[in-house]
């Protein structure tokens, strides 16, 4: 078989060189957090996108996008975040700015839209997102929202998320600021010693429910998840918690730090991906509360769940041992967890990339992976293609834009983003993950790739 991976001579954008590393070769720091290069086929999203994904799971809020229609259309119900009741957040609201608004300013139209929505839905909170254009035409979002809050006696909060003012991570930070505004209250804070907040789980496929169920079982109550199935009212209970646990530090690390400063709530970074990490995280939480009852219940739960799901994972491991995975996800923390989780499945991670990973996280990744693993910050399709093929990956874990690429290359794929099909958190999630990986890696469909017309693939 032809070993050439691609006839294209890969001349990379020189600026990109600093964003790619191979473990064992050059061990300088990776360049991350840089903006995409002009002319790059980048996978990176904007500030609005970051802010919206974090805030969207506030289910009883009106999410009003102030801008032209597109920004609202593309974010209509794409999050996959489940709600136990309210579903106002699954509607798309837009001020649909037109030419005359661009010329004369959009403030009046915005005010009219807020009025209409407030009168129709009486939401407890309205979040008003600004998009690029609003930043340029200079609408005073803050002033309009202040006026609207008074007029309708509800919280109308501006989300200053003009896309060009940074990247997705900046959007996360802005969303955290908004959340801080939402949890602030005039009332006295009711301190609850056995309550915590769960940060950085968006209840995709109902994942937060699984974790909240575990915690409840061992005697710990969850005040609110940031953000998944979150209601405005429950957000107000957040300041009374004894602890914040943080699943996705990329998006929520900032909120955890700020809540520690403001409310004195300590935080723990946790991960509920994979048996190992789930077990460890639960133990660390139980230890924090240092209550014998909680610790006992925690051990009982772990024992029961491991007995139920451990064998399932082991069974899949038999089919998956020795297969190679490539990981390209949003945050560095998730990448770290996935590397460990693949280890549980007997698989080796041969390429790791993230969109918003931070230096500490890249360092941790470097520690974890084997020699020769490629590590990259951001990535364009040609880079992903090159490294996946060069490294002989069997599977890619990624988001919506990577799925078709993997499939085109004849690689199996798992969505570990908004489009995940099953919950992947906790013990049951680890079993689901193993099953999903097995289902796609061992699918009969890959057999048909190696037909007579098939060319250019490295793996036999």
């Amino acid at each position: 078989m032809d070993m050439a991976i691609n006839q294209t001579d890969f001349s990379f954008i020189p600026e990109r060189e600093k964003s790619i590393r191979t473990k064992g070769q050059q061990m300088q720091a990776i360049q991350c957090q840089a903006d995409s290069v002009a002319g790059c086929v980048s996978q990176r999203a904007c500030v609005y996108c970051g802010a919206r994904v974090v805030l969207n799971p506030i289910t009883d809020a009106v999410h009003l996008v102030h801008g032209p229609i597109g920004c609202a259309s593309y974010t209509w119900d794409i999050r996959g975040s489940l709600s136990s009741g309210a579903d106002l957040y699954r509607h798309s609201f837009s001020t649909d700015l037109r030419e005359e608004d661009i010329i004369f300013g959009g403030e009046r139209k915005l005010m009219r839209c807020i009025d209409e929505l407030a009168e129709r839905y009486h939401p407890p909170v309205m979040l008003v997102y600004s998009t690029c254009i609003v930043g340029v035409i200079g609408d005073d979002l803050e002033a309009v929202c202040r006026l609207a809050s008074k007029r309708h006696r509800i919280k109308v909060i501006p989300v200053q998320s003009s896309g060009f003012s940074g990247n997705k991570s900046d959007g996360y930070r802005i969303a955290c600021e908004v959340l801080l505004r939402m949890i602030a209250s005039q009332e006295r804070i009711l301190y609850q010693p056995f309550h915590l907040n769960y940060l950085g789980d968006y209840n995709l496929a109902g994942e937060a429910w699984i974790i909240c169920g575990y915690l409840q079982e061992i005697g710990i109550n969850v005040n609110v998840a940031f953000t998944g199935d979150s209601r405005c009212e429950s957000l107000l209970t957040a300041p009374g918690a004894a602890l914040n646990i943080v699943q996705c530090a990329g998006s929520m690390g900032y909120l955890a730090k700020r809540m520690e400063e403001i409310y004195g709530i300590p935080f723990l970074n946790v991960s509920f991906l994979g048996l190992e990490d789930t077990m460890q995280s639960l133990r660390r939480i139980a230890d924090f509360f240092a209550n014998p009852y909680i610790i006992k219940r925690c051990e009982a739960l772990i024992e029961r769940e491991l007995a139920q799901y451990g064998p399932i994972v082991k069974q899949y491991r038999q089919h998956l041992k020795g297969k190679k995975a490539a990981v390209f996800v949003g945050g560095g923390f998730k990448a770290i967890s996935l590397i460990k989780q693949f280890r549980e499945l007997g698989m080796e991670v041969v390429m790791v990339g993230t969109q918003t990973g931070r230096q500490e996280e890249y360092d941790a990744i470097s520690q974890l992976v084997a020699e020769g693993t490629v590590i990259l910050d951001d990535a364009n399709p040609s880079e992903l293609e090159r490294f996946m093929l060069e490294q002989g990956a069997d599977l890619l874990v990624g988001g919506v834009k990577e799925r078709p690429l993997a499939y085109k290359l004849g690689l199996s794929f798992i969505d570990h983003n908004h489009e995940r099909k099953h919950p992947l958190s906790g013990f049951t999630g680890a079993a689901n993950f193993a099953r999903e990986v097995e289902q796609t890696v061992c699918s009969p469909v890959w057999k048909y790739l190696d037909g007579p017309i098939h060319t250019g693939r490295i793996n036999p």
């Binding site: 002009a38 597109g70 001020t95 209409e116 690029c132 399709p381 085109k408």
Partner: protein
């Protein structure tokens, strides 16, 4: 769930709830992908580009490559000229397309970037081309963006150099690669020589080979786009997506334009094929006549299953107009017809069709799905036809949804198969009658449940 829609119509003064349209650049991006070895370039912030690629990726279930000028605060203040010039240089050097198709975004439009000037100042390697279109989303919709980019192809490339090529230009409109393939098949069956643009067949429905091709084999070639100026006539299918480019060809190269409806259903396909035949002198082949006869046969077999059923249709104007006409041919009652694209002509054209059929319906351009839902709450329909976004209404009101148009995000295969031509008509009839009968079977009381329908 989904009980936020009150039946009583309250006048609205600005707010759009659950849009039935999206923004211009995505249409421009889609059009550009129909040019061979073309990389669409989004001149704006990286976020827009990312959303547009993602959305197209979801509809076509294929990778979508496009580059961005990656605006930052500086560009937003000082203009995006430097970004665009660097971008063009980088894109040619690294991704090596034959042509780059630049479209703007709301942001670059608002700050007033002059794309033509920037392109003139940019270094374009010899033998390569750059075309562009202005695509502000605060005007029109994604269909407008598509139309603008197709026009941009003509503007940037087509020339009449007095060498008549005897060909027909076909502009297929904002349809799936499966439709474009079908149009080509019909033309080939008539042995017609043609230039079709854009043509996403072979690009967005390319086979899986185990290799990622940034530029798959399909797409209209640059030479063809240039040569389009020498053709005899341009058949523009759908006035919203295709007319502007046809008029531009008339202005620029004196190619006669002929504006037709998208060939959806019997009559529109007849008209299309007859127009082709008249323009070229080629006969409508026996093969196509046979296909037509098959559709009529099926319509006779099944008419009692769908006739007189009420239908709500929504989506892009060209498709909705053509579909409405087909539904009338089938004896169905399309009494709610809505597009998200703003337009005065749309309502006139549809209302006239409904009037002629004696149907009192509701028609709206620039509408949203909240409005459509309200209409349906007020007086229900039997069937809903439109994009995936119709599924909320379908679920809330227990109405079967036949998915047509863009985008379809929750089903596969749609982009490979046509709704145009006689083959497309067959497929639509199958989808419509199956949807109605599936519901009937599912809900039938035991004593009414029948094997033979």
């Amino acid at each position: 769930m989904w009980d936020y829609t009150p039946p009583e119509i309250i006048p609205r003064n600005g707010i759009v709830i659950n849009p039935a349209k999206t923004c211009q650049p995505i249409g421009a991006m889609y059009a550009a992908l129909g040019v061979h070895r073309c990389l669409p370039h989004s001149h704006g912030s990286q976020g827009c580009c990312s959303y547009h690629r993602m959305h197209l990726s979801r509809h076509f279930r294929d990778p979508i490559a496009a580059s961005t000028s990656s605006f930052t605060e500086g560009a937003a203040v000082f203009g995006g000229g430097a970004n665009l010039k660097t971008a063009l240089k980088n894109v040619f050097a690294i991704y090596n397309p034959d042509i780059i198709a630049v479209h703007t975004t709301c942001l670059s439009e608002t700050i007033g970037d002059d794309i033509q000037v920037y392109i003139n100042q940019a270094q374009v390697p010899p033998g390569k081309a750059v075309i562009y279109a202005n695509t502000p989303s605060y005007v029109g919709s994604h269909v407008t963006g598509f139309s603008n980019m197709v026009k941009g192809m003509v503007k940037g490339l087509s020339v009449n150099n007095n060498h008549p090529n005897g060909k027909v230009n076909i502009i297929p409109g904002f349809v799936n690669p499966g439709d474009m393939r079908e149009i080509k098949r019909m033309l080939k069956a008539m042995e017609v020589r043609f230039i079709m643009f854009p043509d996403t067949s072979g690009v967005l429905d390319a086979p899986l080979t185990g290799k990622y091709e940034m530029y798959p084999a399909g797409g209209t070639k640059i030479e063809e786009l240039i040569d389009a100026g020498n053709s005899t006539v341009t058949l523009a299918l759908g006035s919203f997506a295709s007319e502007d480019a046809a008029q531009e060809l008339r202005k620029k190269a004196k190619v006669r334009p002929l504006i037709l409806r998208n060939p959806i259903g019997i009559r529109a396909t007849d008209n299309f094929l007859m127009a082709v035949s008249r323009a070229t002198g080629q006969e409508i082949s026996a093969e196509l006549e046979e296909e037509r006869g098959q559709v009529i046969d099926v319509m006779v077999d099944l008419h009692d299953q769908y006739q007189d059923k009420k239908v709500a249709v929504f989506g892009d104007p060209d498709i909705v107009i053509a579909l409405t006409s087909f539904l009338l041919e089938l004896g169905m009652v399309p009494n709610y017809v809505l597009t998200g694209t703003p337009s005065e002509a749309f309502a006139k054209e549809v209302e006239q069709m409904l009037d002629e059929a004696g149907i009192k319906g509701r028609v709206k351009a620039g509408g949203d799905l909240f409005t459509l839902h309200q209409w349906i709450k007020e007086a229900p329909v039997d069937l809903l036809m439109g994009t995936s976004y119709g599924k909320y209404i379908a679920k809330a009101e227990n109405i079967p949804l036949v998915r047509v148009g863009f985008p379809i995000l929750d089903r596969g295969v749609h982009s490979y198969l046509p709704i145009v031509g006689y083959k497309g008509a067959l497929r639509l009839i199958e989808m419509i009658s199956n949807a109605l009968l599936d519901k009937q079977d599912r809900e039938a009381a035991d004593e009414d449940f029948e094997l033979i329908l």
